[in-house]
Amino acid sequence: MFLLALIISPLLATALCFFVKKRTGLLEFFTIVASTVELVAGFFIFFQVVANGNYFFEPYFIVDSLSTLVMLTTVVVGLAAAVYSVGYLRVEADKHYVNFAQIKLYYLLFNLFIAAMLLAVATVNPIFTWIMIEATTLSTTFLIRFYNKAATIEAAWKFLILNSIGLLLGFFGSMLFFTSVTGAGINNFISWQILLNNAVHLNPLIAKIAFIFVIVGYGTKAGFVPMHTWKPDAYNKAPFPVAALFSGPLLNVALLTILRYKFIVDAAIGSSFAQNLMIFFGIISIVVPAFIILVQRNYKRLFAYSSIEHVGIMALGFGFGGVGTIFALVHMIYHSLAKSILFLSSGNIMLKYGSTKIFNVKGVFSLLPVTSIMFLVGVLAITGVPPFGIFISEFNILSAGIGNFWYIVVLAMIALVLVFIGFLKRAVDMLFGQPADGLVKGEASMYTVLPVVVLVVMLLVGSFYLPQSIWALIHSAAAAIN
């Protein structure tokens, strides 16, 4: 029942938004109510999974401990982004940057995007997962083009084509995995579990080729280097709440799918092949963005490269295995919160300064004191400064690899130092100094502050104390991956 509520509420909100005429308040209301229902249902499912190991709506949907983690980050960031969108779009509408039709399309696609992510997480079928991840591409293409300028069209086109190619290659990889169950017949609804049970029948060479396609395909969505090129442009041109959803939940959904196939390939040929591949994509996804972050001049693109770096850290954790896997999952939670804080607080900066170029943003502390503190918390957290949780997760992930992959750990540490220097320099440039004349002190509205404050509180509390139930979930998910 909770699973149905979780899935139906964003779909219902999409349908209701479709019929709204001229009343923006109704669009906001439907979206916030749906996001709240998703959050409540998500937490009920979470408690069920902690108690029973999984929660299902047979035979099509099942949520296990790993998918519960991804689902939780989706519903938490989803509600924060929904509330933030209200304030954000009201300011944009007041400035006449967007009209009612654009706002309506925004809320409609926002809910559809959330629904697609939740369905991708909850379904038992790999092909349905693919359909839903493709649906996230289709629903967000118009959100990237939201401001209808030449650059937004170009970014959206790049996003559409690259993600479509990536996902088709992922689809092909999935098909190769299906060769282990040939003869199952067309009426058989092949689940992840059936693929896992038949993994021993998979030709080892096909298993390897299939996983390469899966990691390249779904890795495009996750943003692994070198398939990451759509990310900086799409993040830069999408509205800030959508960028927060890209960076947190969507990235996690893509990683979850890769991990599901990792289970199968591990069962077929042992864990070393997938682990080495994860380490390879992980380290290049950390090192390449580190250098770009150092010279980045646009704060939204800076955060996009940071997302690529963090997906690399998570991949490294999954590649190292053991404690690395546990803390890669912990990292997934912290990163979703910290990156959402950064995107949403920088949205407030954008609303005030009207620019995403770091050069144009000076003296944020004096104009937006509350946002500044939240932004600084986000920067410190994302760069892995103690005592924030990301420091703990990064430390443990790298510790897990120091024995067998010390050279990878050294490379990653150098890259993390570069990221820290790059971030700190840009943050100082933005937060301090004299703001341009004519800018008035004050936050846009409660809607643009409250969700970020809540996320900051969650991150701070979570950095010092993660509830036992979440640890139980993480350990259970890690045991499945390892």
């Binding site: 289709l138 170009e154 088709l168």
Partner: protein, 218 residues
């Protein structure tokens, strides 16, 4: 599932492959759309053949939907786009024709070297057909890399999808009717969205040559 029809299957597989190769060579957008129709009809025929061995009404509906979307609706949108915006000639390729053909030959050779060993679990006929589909897949990816036109890129994505479907059918990996509906619906929405974007690109940039889009450079 395709017993006693290896000759026909080879012809259909070859159509999918040759259409993919020809997408590199055509200069006119309308011809490229015709090639896509040709390729989609071959996929439709493969789906119909698979229907004979696993008949169900739902599957028949799924197959009809797929044929209608790929063979009628998508080409209809593309030809409408071409007529509306007078886009007779497609943007050029990065490589000239001889180099393109040489690259295609190299792709086919590499595919054979890499995948031949992996396909030993299939019989000789199936592994030949699968190699043909695999070559189509990589040739379609190369269409996306080599062609500069937005419409050609769309057709490249759709050709890639057709090639993967042909691989799945030759490998006996048909999906349930519900999933086939889902995949077809996805393609339909993808075609609609990409068509809208082609119009937007043409309006904004005055050309479909994607190399002329340079607004993201800061």
């Amino acid at each position: 599932m395709f017993e006693n029809s290896s000759q026909l299957l080879f012809i259909l597989g070859s159509i999918v492959f040759i259409s993919g190769v020809s997408l590199h060579l055509v200069k006119k957008n309308f011809l490229a759309v015709c090639l896509y129709i040709f390729q989609s009809l071959a996929i439709g025929a493969l789906l119909l053949l698979s229907l004979f061995s696993n008949f169900s009404v739902l599957l028949l509906l799924a197959v009809i939907c797929t044929i209608v979307v790929k063979g009628i609706i998508a080409p209809f949108f593309f030809t409408k786009l071409i007529k509306k915006n007078q886009l007779q000639f497609s943007a050029s390729t990065y490589l000239n024709t001889p180099l393109t053909l040489l690259s295609v030959a190299l792709i086919v050779m590499i595919v054979r070297i890499i995948f031949l060993k992996a396909l030993t679990s299939f019989d000789e006929v199936s592994s030949d057909l699968l190699l043909l589909s695999l070559a189509s897949i990589f040739v379609s990816v190369f269409v996306l890399i080599n062609r500069k036109g937005a419409l050609s890129q769309i057709l490249g994505v759709l050709s890639l999808e057709n090639s993967i479907v042909s691989f799945a059918l030759f490998a006996g990996l048909e999906q349930s009717p519900a999933l086939q509906f889902g995949i077809t619906f996805n393609i339909l929405v993808w075609v609609l969205i990409s068509s809208v974007f082609v119009t937007l690109i043409y309006k904004q940039f005055g050309t479909l040559d994607v190399t002329s889009m340079k607004k993201l450079i800061e």
